[in-house]
């Protein structure tokens, strides 16, 4: 059985390792256009800053490819011939497969504004994006970062670190509304402003402005106000990297994501999909890709089992996630209601939820606990470290708020000698 894996990101690599662990003899081919070796995409900001080298972000030593007998093919695939069981490269050459995993990931969502096309408008998803921005971003320049998500805050941080004057333009009323509530977001915004960032909230973008010679000179906001900028980075999300599948037999969602069943099989025989490019069913029943490192890793491993013939059903476990906004680490576990959906659509949270929230005075730190009925169902923690595993255990054990508040300190995961968690307000904070 010849396994071919298109894409050597985390989903592809984890799938390849899982296949090799079970099938010692099968040829396994990894196809990639971006980089010859698997690297950690969430680490690109550290490469840009010079905190790590690109080589440092490769999770496995390069000898692994040889030890695992992974064939590697470097090249850009132009189309999939599902009937002929082959990938067709841009140069016309073909690579036959017996079982194929599409783990092609995402690319930046194209900037939709007038004037966006052309030099000076950047993204921050691929190595090529990074190189282009690295080449242009110079100390003392003004940069506008458009989009209040996780990539946006990373770009704002690395540009700020390089000595650019950053304006962070966020369409929504507060930062990262798909995960943070108003209190948490204002804490983040305060922290960003304390670093001399110009944070604009509720600021939709109207157009990217250019000089007569075509160079970027700023952006115009919906209200007509202009933000001066020598370069613009658009960080308004990612879209599945599936353009090459347009004419193929595969069923794609409107977003371009590859439709999969619960065993991560696509509509074509012997073709699976995993990671950012795969449409899966969420807990709320909606069909969307899960654009997360953790789920890409899990889907890759699971897709490999499916390709080996195991009966599997991909079910997203209880939500957990982590991120960092400048200096503030963020941990989420369980169900945390938000007011804005992934497409900017408003969401009305279930009516019988209560929230316990405290902000630690004098620090950029807060804890939010979501309570449904008599038990805790979710945590949103900002500015300190938490072990999500006991938090998830307590959710599954249906622990009440009083019990959780008493034991919460046990789940704190900060460095030794750090201030210990304390309950500052027991009852009043419940809203």
């Amino acid at each position: 059985m010849h396994y071919v894996i298109l894409g050597n990101g985390v989903a592809g690599m984890e799938a390849a390792l899982a296949l090799r662990a079970r099938d010692d003899g099968a040829p396994i081919t990894l196809v990639s256009a971006e980089h010859d070796h698997f690297f950690s995409r969430p680490a690109l900001m550290y490469v840009f800053a010079g905190q790590t080298s690109l080589r440092d972000t490769e999770p496995y030593d390069r000898g692994l490819y040889g030890r695992m007998r992974f064939e590697r093919v470097s090249g850009r695939v132009a189309s999939l011939d599902a009937a002929g069981h082959a990938l067709v490269f841009e140069d016309g050459s073909r690579l036959a497969y017996e079982r194929l995993l599409l783990a092609v990931g995402s690319r930046a969502r194209p900037a939709p504004w007038p004037g966006a096309e052309g030099a000076g408008l950047h993204y921050f998803v691929t190595l090529r994006d990074l190189e282009a921005l690295d080449h242009e971003a110079k100390k003392g320049m003004r940069a506008a970062v458009l989009g209040g998500g996780l990539i946006g805050v990373e770009v704002a941080e690395v540009l700020h670190d390089r000595g650019l004057h950053v304006t962070f333009v966020i369409r929504e009323g507060w930062y990262f509304p798909v995960a943070l509530d108003r209190n948490e977001a204002s804490l983040v915004a305060e922290h960003l402003r304390a670093q001399a960032l110009d944070v604009r909230l509720g600021a939709g973008v109207d157009a990217v402005l250019r000089r007569d010679d075509g160079r970027v000179r700023g952006v115009r906001l919906a209200g007509g106000e202009e933000v001066v900028a020598d370069l613009v980075v658009s960080t308004i999300g990612v879209v599945p990297n599936t353009g090459f599948l347009a004419g193929s037999a595969l069923t794609l969602a409107k977003s371009g994501a590859i439709e999969t069943d619960e065993a991560l099989r696509t509509s074509a025989p012997d073709v699976w999909a995993a990671g950012d490019c795969a449409n899966v069913t969420w807990l709320d029943g909606s069909r969307r890709p899960e654009q997360l490192w953790y789920t890409a890793r899990d889907q890759g491993r699971l897709a490999a089992r499916s390709m080996l013939g195991d009966e599997i059903a991909y079910r997203r476990g209880t939500w957990y996630n982590s991120a960092k906004f400048f200096d503030l680490e963020y941990t989420a576990a369980g169900y945390v209601p938000v007011s804005v959906g992934p497409e900017g659509n408003p969401i009305v949270p279930p009516p019988d939820l209560r929230t316990w929230f405290q902000r630690v005075p004098g620090r950029f730190e807060s804890q939010r606990i979501v309570v449904k009925g008599d038990r805790v169902v979710g945590f949103n923690m900002l500015g300190s470290r938490w072990n999500h595993e006991p938090l998830l255990d307590w959710i599954h054990e249906r622990r009440p708020l009083a019990w959780v508040l008493e034991h919460l300190g046990e789940a704190q995961f900060d460095e030794e000698l750090s201030p210990r968690f304390r309950v500052l307000a027991r009852e009043e904070a419940v809203s």
Partner: protein, 373 residues
């Protein structure tokens, strides 16, 4: 929780550019001058550093007993640690662990390895470095020291070598010597900070390390034994006495001067700051074995690693921390000096240095089930 970003690879001194090579060459040269003084073969006919120390001592009006290149070296070394310590506090001082550890290692150097030895010398006694212990400072268990120093110093020496630091290593990890007290580690963790990422993370380096550090430990034990046997029977056996003298001199030259000093510090800008601690130090080897049996560990939070590599990159001991983090594997490595930098720079808070009994079982993947709302 790291505050701000580091631009390590954009600094010429920290990215193995010609600046780093030049720095390394200068350090090599300085240490060779220090240990070997006049080297006529290289055209160095007099002890340059000793002359400099004498001139400086006279100019400052210091007591004659301090007109020594070793006092000059101690002064420069301590100043470098204070300067580097300030740099570390500015960069990582937001972390209480890093802040307290840095103050400790610099404070111990200033008091126990700089001021007290100078006071002893000024009082006309033999100098003694109170923060160094056998087998790192091998001569502190030689009869020449034990039989000549006052009881309290000998007691201090035995207590540190055989009781306090092994016990601390068992319960809290060898960090309470290697990165809270020791001056070698202290130099690495202060002025050496910009070079910590150069330690090799390869499996090959790890296998070399295991052989070399335990070989040095073995040599240190053998050398100590031979020197004592010589003390007991050397007078009757002049041939053994000359053999013992050669062992003592040989160990001092090869391990004490060349490995710990010239290579250990000279290679800072090219191979990282813990070359000696990782590949050579017999104290680190001994405490590492105790640590392996003890309670200290680095706890890994399950399934939260994003494989960014900050932990491995900034491990000065060359431990590929990321492999454990990706595998959900809480671990104890004999080499780990507990500097805490892996946990500090992790952007997802995956790692934690711990010595408490284990509360949350590690190593199992998170159970896949959903909140039933």
């Amino acid at each position: 929780m790291q505050s701000g970003l580091m631009n390590t690879y954009q600094q010429p001194a920290s990215n193995r550019s010609w600046v780093a090579w030049l720095l390394s060459a200068l350090l090599f040269f300085a240490y060779i001058l220090l240990y070997f003084g006049p080297i006529p073969a290289l055209g160095l006919r007099f002890d340059l550093l000793q002359r400099a120390a004498e001139a400086a001592g006279a100019a400052l009006g210091l007591p004659a007993v301090l007109h020594s290149k070793w006092v000059l070296y101690g002064t420069v070394y301590t100043l470098a640690m204070i300067l580097g310590g300030a740099f570390v506090l500015r960069r990582h001082g937001n972390s209480p662990y890093q802040r307290i550890r840095t103050v400790s290692v610099v404070g111990v150097q200033v008091v126990f390895a700089f001021l007290l030895p100078i006071v002893l010398q000024v009082l006309g006694r033999k100098e003694y470095y109170f923060s160094y212990f056998w087998p790192l400072k091998i001569e502190y268990f030689y009869p020449s020291v034990i039989l000549q120093q006052p009881f309290l110093i000998v007691f201090w020496s035995f207590l540190g070598s055989l009781v306090v630091f092994p016990l601390l290593a068992f319960f809290l990890g060898k960090r309470f010597y290697c990165s809270w007290v020791c001056g070698c580690g202290g130099l690495a963790n202060t002025i050496g900070e910009p070079f910590r990422h150069h330690s090799s993370k390869s499996a090959r380096a790890w296998s070399i390390e295991k052989v070399s550090i335990h070989t040095v430990l073995f040599l240190a034990l053998v050398a100590t034994a031979i020197v004592w046997i010589n003390w007991a029977v050397g007078r009757q056996h002049p041939e053994f006495a000359s053999f013992a003298f050669k062992v003592q001199e040989g160990y001092g030259f090869a391990i004490g001067a060349m490995f710990a000093g010239v290579l250990g510090v000279g290679l800072y800008p090219l191979m990282g700051t813990r070359v000696w601690c990782r590949f050579g130090c017999p104290m680190a080897a001994l405490l590492g074995l105790v640590q392996k049996l003890g309670r200290f560990r680095i706890t890994v939070k399950n399934d939260m690693c994003i494989a960014c590599g900050n932990c491995s990159t900034y491990c000065e001991m060359g431990i590929d921390v990321r492999q454990y983090a990706m595998a959900n594997q809480t671990f104890t490595r004999a080499a780990c000096v507990g500097c805490g930098m892996c946990a500090h720079v992790c952007p997802r808070g995956v790692l934690k240095l711990e010595n408490q009994p284990i509360r949350w079982k590690a190593g199992q993947p998170i159970r896949v089930h959903a909140v039933d709302l």
